[in-house]
Symmetry: C2
Subunit: 408 residues, 2 copies
């Protein structure tokens, strides 16, 4: 008899975005004339930049000829892309990596979801709260947790609250943890971590032989020169951290699909008997057995992001989004909201009016301003009372949304 993986039955039914979708659909049905503005899900709106478009057309043309056709590529990605990554994303920041430490993939959701597979089920997982749900859900599916409690938290996971009180960077945990998910610039809070703050975590991981899973999908939105873009800017991080990067937000690849994971060769994990195992080799085995490489055409597009034209073009788009974020911050601050993030990240995180819960505020914003945001409570218990607005939209639409906020 075929048995199901019963860990899946522990998952909470109401995944955040489907519930938002349901409420928005219901509202739209009852208010067919309402012009709903979506600042909820973190999806980009600007087209792919001309350098990427040209590179992809060229790659499609190559695929039309016998000489230029590309079949199976290296599962780890083409060197033209890994080398561009090393030369542009890491070398200028003094981070020395080898191309064998870069694994190109079709997305950071996949990478951050899959990475836990290569580690033992007996590791204690620590996540921030609020948190990107994929980190938690994939550990539930694997069996590292017990059932969820009434508050939606799972037994066996250490939740580290991030609120205005700690500037949305968690304290070191008092209990022992093994796998620590950190995301900076943060989704959903828009917070960043300084070098000193990250150093504390790297030191903790080195002392405790813990692993940091560092999601840097939003690093391109950092404008403050003092904020690190990579965890490897911290000495010794290559011994304890895996880093996730993505072209999704950086270059508008949410529908085009390309990302990469850095697994340094200095990183070790351990057998129960204490033997040190090379994590890079194990991830390579996983990646080449359960993945078959990212599309050649897509990788050619991603490589064009690193050309001089590509860099300038994506910078213009990022600036457009960050101008949106800045105007959102200004408008909401003037309206008296407590506003966080939005300075080095495309997300603005605000506090709902005193005494109002996240979903109540969501409903109020939808009903009175016809604007869709994301309730902070959907990202975790410590997000209760907060609300996320995304800066991914056309400037005129963002401005219209802010005008309507005045009516709430």
């Amino acid at each position: 008899m075929i048995k199901i993986n019963e860990n899946y039955l522990k998952l909470q039914a109401g995944y955040l975005f489907p519930e938002i979708g349901r409420r928005v659909s219901e509202f739209a049905e009852n208010n067919p004339d309402a012009d709903i503005i979506k600042l909820g899900i973190g999806d980009v709106t600007e087209p792919l930049c001309p350098a990427v478009i040209k590179a992809m057309h060229d790659a499609v043309d190559e695929m039309a000829t016998s000489e230029g056709f590309h079949g199976y590529g290296p599962e780890q990605g083409y060197e033209f892309l890994t080398e561009a990554i090393l030369a542009n994303d890491f070398a200028p920041r003094g981070v020395k990596l080898d191309k064998s430490e870069i694994f190109i993939s079709d997305g950071s959701k996949c990478d951050t979801g899959n990475i836990q597979e290569i580690f033992g089920l007996d590791n204690i997982v620590a996540v921030t709260d609020p948190v990107y749900p994929v980190y938690v859900d994939t550990n539930v599916m694997a069996g590292r947790t017990s059932n969820a409690t009434e508050g939606g938290r799972y037994g066996g996971i250490v939740y580290m609250p991030c609120t205005a009180e700690n500037n949305f960077v968690p304290e070191l945990p008092s209990e022992s943890v093994d796998m620590i998910y950190l995301c900076y610039p943060n989704n959903p809070t828009g917070a960043t971590a300084t070098k000193d703050q990250l150093k504390k975590w790297v030191d903790y991981a080195r002392e405790n032989k813990a692993l940091i899973l560092f999601d840097a999908a939003y690093e391109a939105f950092i404008s403050d020169p003092n904020i690190p873009h990579s965890i490897y800017e911290i000495d010794g991080a290559e011994e304890v951290a895996i880093e996730f990067r993505s072209f999704s937000k950086t270059a508008g690849f949410t529908g085009t699909r390309c990302a990469f994971t850095v697994v340094p060769k200095a990183l070790k994990a351990y057998t129960k008997a204490g033997e040190a195992i090379d994590v890079n080799a194990i991830w390579n085995r996983r990646h080449s057995t359960k993945f078959n490489g990212c599309s050649y055409i897509t990788q050619k597009g991603a490589a064009a992001v690193y050309t001089p034209e590509g860099k300038e073009q994506i910078r213009n788009t990022i600036n457009l989004y960050m101008d949106n974020a800045s105007r959102i911050r200004k408008a909401l601050t003037e309206l008296g909201y407590n506003v966080y993030g939005g300075q080095n990240a495309p997300y603005v995180w605000l506090q709902a009016p005193e005494g109002m819960k996240s979903w109540e505020f969501f409903d109020a914003v939808l009903n009175k301003a016809h604007v869709v945001g994301t309730p902070g409570a959907g990202f975790g218990a410590a997000g209760e009372g907060y609300f996320r607005l995304s800066a991914f939209n056309k400037p005129e639409i963002v401005d219209e949304a802010m005008k309507r906020f005045a009516k709430i």
Copy 2:
């Protein structure tokens, strides 16, 4: 302390294709003038067809405009593709499926590797021998096996030998099994299964509440009208089978990456307490949590495979490969080899000369004919003494390879 998933340490070091690569590199170094012909790895050689190229150019152009830009798509795939699949791959064969039963992905290697995650670790896995290594390796990684024995087999997996004696379609197992991997047309043997043969398996699965994981990646190469293309052509299979399809070999997408998995709503798996669980819903949860959709541009290309021009163009390419297979069969038969497959599949499976082992024959073919094939033993113990040749190459290169075979 971060613990590794120790199941990975059970994996055999020598994955087949890297070992082939090593021997070929060594030979090439020692024989720099040798013109090596590769009929080893099953990668296509013909370019993408014009209909696909045009659709992908159009999709790239869409992505360059605000109006045509596509960000995150449905994780399950766009309806324009799922509907084309239903209308062309299934409806004409009398197979009724709903679009919610189709999951578009970036490849069948991923799908056949990932599918086991949603089932319990206590299921007994059955595979054919020889077998596509991904089925086995992903179950080893998950922890469904013990260490490998000297012969390379893993404890806890039921191996079902497929040899000339049973026409490469296995007998029903005498022990109880829960997850049965079948691949027809078969990689590596090129064998097909008739409706009667598949019906035996479907009946077995229904009687025993077992699950069939049916890999149909090569169905487009079937020319015999009596051979089923889908397991759902067998009555009741929708209650016990998941099917995997791919554009890789059908339409030359090995470097472009698109495939799909069929998970019928009638399919159930069970909790230890015996409760029936809807497998479609669980796979949907896994797919939308650990995957973020296949590239829009790629899906547009895949949909073009189903246009009248696309169908004709891919048919011409498939015919070219199958003409190759036919000439390989003829040449080897004339040379006195026992030859199998190659009639409804792009692989020819031959017996090495009496008393010769697979790797010995591999070395002989490489050294004497400068041709690379795949040693049957690399696919499993029952493949010992066999050898696989792929029909994916230019006709003139295939003919040259056959000329050289005469010298062995």
